[in-house]
Symmetry: D2
Subunit: 251 residues, 4 copies
């Protein structure tokens, strides 16, 4: 496949998810291939030293940085929903954003966006009230930051809601996940929800050329994405990122 | 005792040390009486919501705010030393400072200084290498913040060291603790190390009038303090702060 | 009111909920008044030293001990549901039960029952599947322990379910909470859900004399309780326990 | 090298050190090769589900189990000393031992020994007072458990001390670490402190045949070991365990 040089779609990846003595993710291999690093803030993964190392790696490869805040749940890696009221969630988000923001600045970097992690991301996409709280939290942080969320059939409404907060959105698509007709992802528990290397590449190519993906019912679904979420947990994932990078053309 | 109106000495107090369902400190009673609030950052005490509530209380009473970072030790309330290398300590401090800084800013407040907590404070006063690391960490944070430390016989050397980092220092004295001849505090384990109400008031008065305290050997020790550390854990402590406030004159 | 000497109903109370430097509960005042202490296991509250101190206090007053396990959530005091699969929950319960069991035994005490805490208790009463998991976990622990749960209109079914596990149940009623017609409690968010001193005492008296409580609709609801849950968080709560103790007669 | 069939020395290895989503150690590969599994208790590593999985793996391969308690320090993987008084340490040890003991029993296994982890192990070998506290803690647990510690020149004194507590000891040697003349290990920070595959094998062979190791000064040091500590963190470590297993003969 020939690189689609004129594409402006970005690649984003979750990074900085080691914790203390526990390693996770092939950060050093993935960072040179991506445009945007979603950096763990210490609540589902990461710690102050992991954070600094991850930010330094992003700096070295001139990768944009986003804070990747989550529920307070290291044991569950932020994959378990935690019920809290809107104020508590706002404080939790501010705290994590602030930690990454100030550390990044001290390393000469500027935080540019927020992408909620795991259960918080899913809850935000499923609950308009929670999405509203997240938007309000990001918008009321003391400096402008974009919010990254899933590009779905509700994108227009999401933009409308964000406008009220003067909040800019970044819509993301998934390279290796099967879509439903409403632009949401089929749950991981469902067979075929994660695409193999070739299918993922084909999905990316269709997305870049036609702005569509093929859903689980075989329908063509329009997806307007600013950025593609890729993974760097294992060698296979990294190989896929390399192929996608080639497809997009060099950074 | 008549107020010493011309005194410019400040009162500082550790606040925001509740955690989740656990309350600690009479913050609402102490805040109106002090000038500087040392706000827990979530590592020995505090959490995102406690932090926001404490900062809002400081805002309401126009009290300066300092970050009160500590070793990562909720179980031991930051009173246990944790061995880490200089880089790890710098990252730990940056993280905590950044969290308070960014949350404060989002509430319309400016963080103005850093006062290490508990074992970290004691270790910093006991080890020149650790003090150097702390200074380096605070000085390399992305915006200028003062460092609060104990006014001892080594104050001149401490100023010299800080100068190298272009770091401004705030020297503090203790109202209710017995001093040694070198300007350090007698350990809490020693009888008479904590002064009663009257003795504490007398110590403050002597400090304000003569710039000295009487040491455990009865000698007069010169202490040049910018701020007085007071406590707000219990009604007796708050009563002492009220008496000291009266002595200093209204804020 | 004259003591109802012939009553065999017990009083149980949540204890051992301090954590590190944070105190909670008037354990020393309540312990002499109760029959059964639900001891925090270190996951929503408590720590190894708090646990030992609490068990020693129970020993001194010859109070039966129960483990009071919870979701892993100190920040939320175990009041937030955490989604986990049945195996994970079983392991979580075993771990906490085992910790209390072995420490108690080393102090010469025998653990006698399990009472889940907070959100886990509520989830267990609301979800038959979760109750089944809890029963299975307690029953498969290596020694026989009773399970304490809410006496509701479903008590007969609960006994049936427990029988399948050869598990003995302890049914509890609440002294100071308003009941619904199905024997469940009105939520704390609802006005009048917590009874004042006199109403609570009246509810206990009716329960002891007639085996019923008056529901929020004014109906009489049959409640067969082995034990009454009381609280010891504050002086008012302790005063109520004292009154109830008097009503029941000395231990 | 021909198997030394008559050797009765055991192989022990630290296992169960994953945590939540973070994997550590090649437990499934190492378990079939060893005799004794030192199982993390959830304070430096491990969690209730990791614990159950590790114990089940030990059961499957009929490996003895020991609890591997540590200071409360997940961030530092138990490698940082935490100052606590003797009572607090005893409670901390009891809690961890009890958790593993009760969970093991519920899986049909019997806990047989205790081996402190990381900084706690080092502190115990360096401080007679701390060793005394550890011995007292293990001996006062409600059932007899052996204590595993380093075989050094002080072994006779250690046995004497243990006798006072009616505590049985298990002395361990290290396959892949360079020794000093007093039977202690050269610190990891020192060059040559960790032996390569061939040197480690040679050290094991000398230990089995002559009951000695060659120290860093080239002297022959008598080491009476009941068990050899091996590692399973990476493929190289596992390869060494396989070679040592071959040397010792099949289990």
């Amino acid at each position: 496949m020939k690189p689609l040089k004129n594409s402006s779609i970005k690649l984003n990846c979750d990074l900085g998810e080691s914790f203390g003595a526990w390693q996770m993710g092939l950060d050093a291999q993935v960072m040179p291939l991506i445009d945007q690093a979603n950096v763990a803030c210490g609540f589902h993964a990461g710690d102050p030293t992991v954070l600094v190392n991850t930010l330094n790696l992003a700096k070295q490869h001139q990768v944009q940085i986003g804070a990747h805040p989550s529920y307070d749940d290291k044991q569950g890696f932020g994959r378990r929903s935690v019920k809290m009221n809107a104020d508590e969630l706002k404080h939790l988000l501010w705290y994590q954003i602030a930690a990454v923001d100030g550390v990044a600045k001290s390393l000469g970097l500027e935080l540019s966006y927020i992408k909620p992690h795991g259960a918080l991301y899913n809850d935000m996409m499923a609950s308009p009230a929670l999405l509203d709280t997240v938007m309000q939290a990001v918008a009321s942080y003391h400096k402008p930051l974009k919010l990254m969320l899933l590009a779905t059939a509700s994108a227009t409404e999401h933009k409308q809601l964000a406008k009220g907060y003067q909040l800019e959105l970044l819509f993301e698509a998934f390279a290796d996940r099967r879509y439903k007709n409403d632009g949401s992802l089929t749950p991981r528990s469902q067979a075929g929800s994660v695409l193999d290397h070739q299918s993922a590449l084909a999905q990316v190519q269709q997305l870049l050329q036609n702005g569509t993906v093929q859903s689980d019912t075989g329908d063509s679904v329009v997806i307007q994405a600013d950025t593609l979420c890729v993974h760097g947990d294992n060698p296979q994932a990294v190989a896929l990122v390399q192929s996608i990078r080639q497809l997009l053309g060099s950074r």
